[in-house]
């Protein structure tokens, strides 16, 4: 395969230098920063401490934000799975022009800035917004939606839905539609065919979709920032405030490192789960 041993290194060297310098080095610097002392009068010190991690993991103010982040990310993942998987299945059974048109409608918003989509939801959910107007007509409103956890979850589901539809759709593409028909003709009920034929195929897409959705929701910034207001913080908006308002960089760095580690742990657990599934499938 290789012709001269130097060639590949020449080709990758610009990228390698850039990525080593701007991915590894800054991450290492941030880990170091998170152990540095901080004083509100003198700023960042030069001695090391575990105090920031200690405080983040014991102070109820921080724990509440982490708990909210996990809870909302989990809820978003669950809702995305409940909406995204059936939607992908329905899409896969559509006829040719409609199928690509609606697939485009669902994944297209991915290309629109999150700020724009969050702003759209803040208009819809505001006290004079369309949702409250509709609830008013049904004599159910007005309900305070904006700056609540409900608003954050609704907008997160909206932004994350394509990340769930895409992997499930991809998994369904590998399923021959005739297999489901065959199950029916062999006497399986619709539900049995769905459970025994379609679900196993969907579940792998569902797993990878859930991973992406959970990871992105847990570190989402614009949506809690615009729809949660100043009071309802999530991990990302907390880090931003520590950096930009408190100016306590070491504390912000410690929280960011915890977010990164949590992300990597979930990623590894997911890989384990997929491997275990594959082993079971192979018998």
């Amino acid at each position: 395969m290789s012709r001269s041993p130097a060639a590949p290194w020449l080709l990758v060297s610009p990228g390698a230098v850039l990525f080593l310098g701007l991915v590894l080095v800054p991450l290492v610097l941030t880990v170091i920063l998170s152990f540095l002392t901080y004083n509100y009068d003198t700023g960042i010190g030069d001695s090391y401490t575990l105090a920031h991690y200690g405080r983040v993991l014991s102070d109820s103010y921080y724990l509440e934000i982490f708990w909210r982040t996990l809870r909302l990310a989990f809820l978003t993942t669950l809702l995305c799975a409940l909406i995204g998987a059936p939607e992908a299945y329905i899409l896969s059974r559509m006829r040719s022009p409609w199928r690509s048109i609606f697939l485009l409608v669902i994944i297209g918003p991915l290309l629109v800035s999150v700020v724009v989509r969050a702003f759209g939801w803040s208009m819809l959910l505001g006290s004079t917004g369309l949702v409250n107007a509709a609830l008013g007509v049904l004599a159910l409103g007005p309900v305070r939606l904006l700056y609540t956890e409900t608003a954050i979850v609704i907008a997160l589901v909206h932004v994350m839905l394509p990340f769930m539809v895409i992997p499930v759709w991809t998994a369904l593409q590998k399923l021959d539609p005739m297999v489901e028909t065959a199950a029916w003709s062999l006497g399986a009920s619709r539900f049995a065919a769905l459970r025994r034929v379609v679900m196993p195929q969907v579940s792998i897409g569902l797993l990878s979709g859930s991973l992406i959705v959970f990871g992105l929701s847990a570190s989402a910034f614009a949506i809690p920032g615009l729809l949660g207001g100043r009071r309802l913080k999530m991990a990302a908006t907390l880090v931003y405030d520590e950096y930009m308002q408190e100016l306590n960089w070491p504390m912000g760095a410690a929280i960011a490192i915890i977010v990164l580690l949590a992300n990597l742990v979930i990623m590894l657990a997911y890989n384990r789960a997929v491997e275990a599934r594959a082993r079971r499938a192979l018998g």
Partner: protein
């Protein structure tokens, strides 16, 4: 082929309405003649679009974003194409580690990248520099380009390249005249995807932009947290329109589902 039942179609309609609702509302509110965020019913007005022209902050930020995304996407392609060639064509020490390093920005939250860059820039004294901002965007968007170019390369029929080699063409000529034209759809698609991702990036940029280099999403975020008036809707509507045009072009030329869903 099985058909979707009425219940399934009802569900589908609800999902589509949910997906489109915020975008439609923005586009309607943008045309309001009022001072508040209302959906115009009788009169439509372009006053809030005109207001953007008198608010230089958005114009400057738009210019910054356009430059930033263009330079970053181009640099990213310049780095990703040779790297993809090396990763696809050679087996060398550290290949897997490098591949993982190149794709790592996909699994590191942008928030973490943002604070990491901020720390580095503060230490070496380049905070607020446009050049370094470009490099941070290159890091974030290169994984997308790399994946598309590698996919294009691995689907390539090598016989034309081998024929040219046998006929005495130099490696550079083979690359320029044969390989590059053949992977061009992947490269262009990668550039566009990189451009859009760079143009829309908020979470990392908010940490590393200065007032002089502020990008459009950052400016819009700041604006939306401070005051909400229909100008924000007008700017958003313009962004939606631009994205829709880009999407149509992307879809006509490459097939959007191929780029976003990935090749199989």
């Amino acid at each position: 082929m099985q058909k979707n039942g009425p219940l399934a179609l009802l569900f589908h309609t609800a999902v589509i309405a949910f997906v489109l609702a915020p975008l439609v509302v923005i586009c309607l509110v943008a045309f309001t003649p009022e001072n508040t965020l209302t959906i115009p019913t009788t009169r439509f007005s372009l006053r809030w679009f005109r207001a953007i022209l008198d608010y230089p902050d958005f114009i400057t930020a738009f210019g910054n974003s356009l430059w930033l995304a263009t330079i970053a996407a181009t640099l990213s392609v310049a780095i990703a194409v040779p790297s993809a060639l090396a990763i696809d064509r050679y087996r060398f020490f550290g290949r897997d580690a490098l591949n993982a390093l190149f794709l790592s920005p996909l699994i590191i939250p942008h928030l973490v990248l943002g604070v990491a860059f901020l720390r580095l820039f503060a230490l070496i004294g380049v905070t607020g520099s446009f050049t370094w901002l470009v490099l941070t965007h290159v890091i974030v968007i290169t994984p997308y380009v790399l994946r598309l170019v590698i996919a294009a390369l691995s689907g390539l029929d090598r016989s034309a390249e081998q024929a040219a080699m046998t006929l005495g063409a130099s490696r550079w000529t083979v690359f320029r005249r044969i390989t590059l034209p053949m992977i061009l759809p992947g490269v262009t698609g990668g550039w566009l995807l990189a451009f859009i991702n760079s143009f829309d990036e908020l979470t990392m940029s908010i940490f590393v932009t200065s007032p002089a280099t502020v990008t459009l999403p950052v400016r819009m975020y700041m604006y939306a947290t401070e005051s909400i008036d229909p100008m924000m809707a007008a700017v958003s509507a313009l962004m939606i329109a631009l994205t829709a045009i880009a999407m149509l072009v992307l879809d006509r030329v490459f097939g959007l589902d191929k780029i976003l869903v990935g090749e199989k």
